[in-house]
Amino acid sequence: MDFKKEVRIVCGWIAYFGDLLLRLLWHLVHVIISLFYFTLGIANALESYLISWGVLKRYRSLHVNKLRYLAIVVESEEAYETSKIIALLQWLADIGVKHVCLYDMEGILKKSKDFILAKVDGAVLYGETHENNKLLDQTHMTLEFASFCDGKEAVAKAANVLFMKYVKSGATDQNQKGHIFTESQMSEALKTIGSGGPEPDLLLVYGPARCHLGFPAWRIRYTEIVHMGPLKSMKYGSLIKAIHKFTRVQQNYGK
C-alpha cells in the first residue's frame, strides 16, 4: 500500500513538473514570436522610410485611379487620436484618394466628424455631394463615417422595411413559398435607411489585429482587407505600399 502511495506521489510530481515545463515552453514560444514580430516591425519601418524617400523605384508610380473607394477601420481606443486621423486623411488626399469611409466600432469618429471635416483640406461629407456637381467630386475628398450600428442593426432596420413591403403586398405564408426578396431589394432597403454606402475596394485596419471589427457586412464582399498595425505607428510608406499592392490585385469574382 505504501509502495502504491509512493508511486502515486511520484506520478503527481512528474505531472506537476511536466505541466510546468509545458507552460515554460509555451511562454518561450510566444517570446520568440514577439521577438520575430519586433524584428519584422523594424524591417517594415525601414522599408516604409525607403518608400517615403522615393528610394524604392517600384513605389514611385501609383495607379490610384483603381482605388475608387477606401475604408479605414480604426480601433476605437485609437480613434480618439483625431490628430493622427487628420494626418492620415491628409496623406490620402496627397496620394489622390477621393472617397474614404472612416469606421470605428463605438462611433468615436462619428462624434469627431465636424472637427475632422473642418481640419482636412477640401473634405466634404459623403452624401452632401450632388449628382450634377461632378467637379466637386473630382477636387474634393468625400468622407463617410460609420460605426457598428451601421452594420447588423442597419440590416435589421432594412429587414423591417422589407417586412412592411411584404405585409402590404398581402402575401401569406401559404401562397408565398420560395424567395420573396432579392439582394438588389436588400441593397435598396439599406439605401432607404441611409446605410447604403458603396463597397470599398480596399479596407485598411489600424489596430492590434487584422479584423474588420464589424464593418457593415453587406459592403465588404470582395474588399481587400489589409492590416496596417496600430494607428500610433502609422507610416506614409506603409500606406503607399498597401495601396500599391492593391492596385496589382486581380479578382475573378468567383469565376
Binding site: W26, K152, A159, E183, H212, I225, K255
Partner: protein
C-alpha cells in the same frame, strides 16, 4: 487515421509525426484554443495548373488537404471547423468546371457513406452543409442530405461545408425566413410585428456554429469573397501565400499562435458588442 496499403516505414513516420504533433498540441493547449476555425480553400485550380495536372486533380488534392486539416483540428481540440467549398459566385464558371466539383462532392459523399473511406465517421465528425442547397441538382442535394443524416449523431467536431453559399444570400434568406415567421404571427397581434436582430440571426445558415475565431485563406488573397461577413466581426483574419492543397499542420499551428497572441483583445471586443 488509417493508411491502408502504405509501407511500414511510412506508417512509422506517420506515428512519429503523430507523437510530435501531440507534444506540440500539449504545449499549445497551455493557452486558449479557438472554438471555431474557418477555411477559404483557395488555389486548387492554380495548384493543378502549376503541376500540369487536370483541374479535377487540383480539387482532389484540395479535398485531401481539408481532411488533414479537419484531423489536425480534432487533435487540437477545435470543436467547429467550417470550409468554404463552393460559392454561389462559382456557378459563373464553365458548366464543366461546376459539374466537376459537384461530381467530386457526390463521389466523396458516396465513399464516406459506403464506408470505402469513412474517415469522418471514424473520427466522430458531424457534417453539416450550409448554403442555398436549392441551387444544387437533385442528385447532389440527395447525397448531401444523406451524409448530414448519417453523421448527425457524431459529436467530436462539427464540420460545416459552405456549399452554394454567400454571406449576402445568407442574410437575405434569413430575412425571408424571419418575415414569413413574423407574417404567420402577425394575424394574432394587434400591433405591427417588428423584425429584430436576434430573429435574423437564428435563421442564418451558420446559426449551427458559434462565430469563427479564425478565418484562414490560402493563395495570398486578402479578401473574404462573401464568406462569413456577418459572423467575422471579432475574428482574426489570416492569409497564407501557399495554395490550399499545400496547407499543412504548421500553418494551422501559426494561426492558433496568432489567435493566442490576440486572444485578450478579441475577448474585450466581444464584450463590447
Amino acid at each position: 487515421m488509417e493508411k491502408d496499403g502504405v509501407s511500414k516505414s511510412a506508417r512509422v513516420l506517420w506515428k512519429l509525426s503523430c507523437f510530435f504533433r501531440k507534444f506540440i498540441v500539449s504545449t499549445l493547449s497551455v493557452g486558449p484554443i479557438p472554438a471555431h476555425v474557418a477555411f477559404i480553400m483557395d488555389g486548387n485550380r492554380r495548384y493543378a495548373k502549376q503541376r500540369n495536372l487536370e483541374e479535377g486533380e487540383g480539387h482532389n488534392a484540395g479535398y485531401l488537404a481539408l481532411k488533414f486539416m479537419v484531423y489536425y483540428c480534432l487533435e487540437l481540440g477545435i470543436k467547429h471547423v467550417t470550409a468554404y467549398a463552393f460559392s454561389i459566385d462559382n456557378f459563373k464558371r464553365s458548366p464543366e468546371g461546376v459539374q466537376r466539383i459537384m461530381d467530386l462532392m457526390v463521389e466523396k459523399i458516396e465513399e464516406e457513406l459506403s464506408q470505402v473511406d469513412n474517415t469522418y465517421s471514424k473520427m466522430g465528425i458531424r457534417i453539416h452543409f450550409s448554403g442555398n442547397l436549392e441551387l444544387l441538382s437533385q442528385p447532389t442535394k440527395d447525397a448531401v442530405k444523406r451524409l448530414m443524416a448519417a453523421t448527425a449523431k457524431n459529436s467530436k467536431v462539427l464540420l460545416t461545408i459552405c456549399f452554394a453559399y454567400t454571406s449576402t444570400n445568407e442574410i437575405v434568406h434569413a430575412i425571408e425566413q424571419t418575415c414569413q415567421e413574423k407574417m404567420a404571427d402577425q394575424m394574432e397581434l394587434e400591433e405591427p410585428n417588428v423584425v429584430k436582430l436576434a430573429d435574423i440571426e437564428k435563421h442564418m445558415y451558420m446559426a449551427v456554429a458559434p462565430d469563427p475565431d479564425i478565418i484562414i485563406r490560402t493563395s495570398g488573397e486578402s479578401r473574404l469573397s462573401n464568406f462569413l461577413l456577418w459572423q467575422s466581426a471579432n475574428c482574426s483574419l489570416i492569409c497564407f501565400s501557399q495554395l490550399w492543397p499545400a496547407i499543412s499542420f504548421w500553418h494551422l499551428l501559426w494561426a492558433v499562435l496568432k489567435f493566442q497572441r490576440n486572444y485578450y483583445y478579441f475577448e474585450k471586443k466581444k464584450k463590447q458588442i
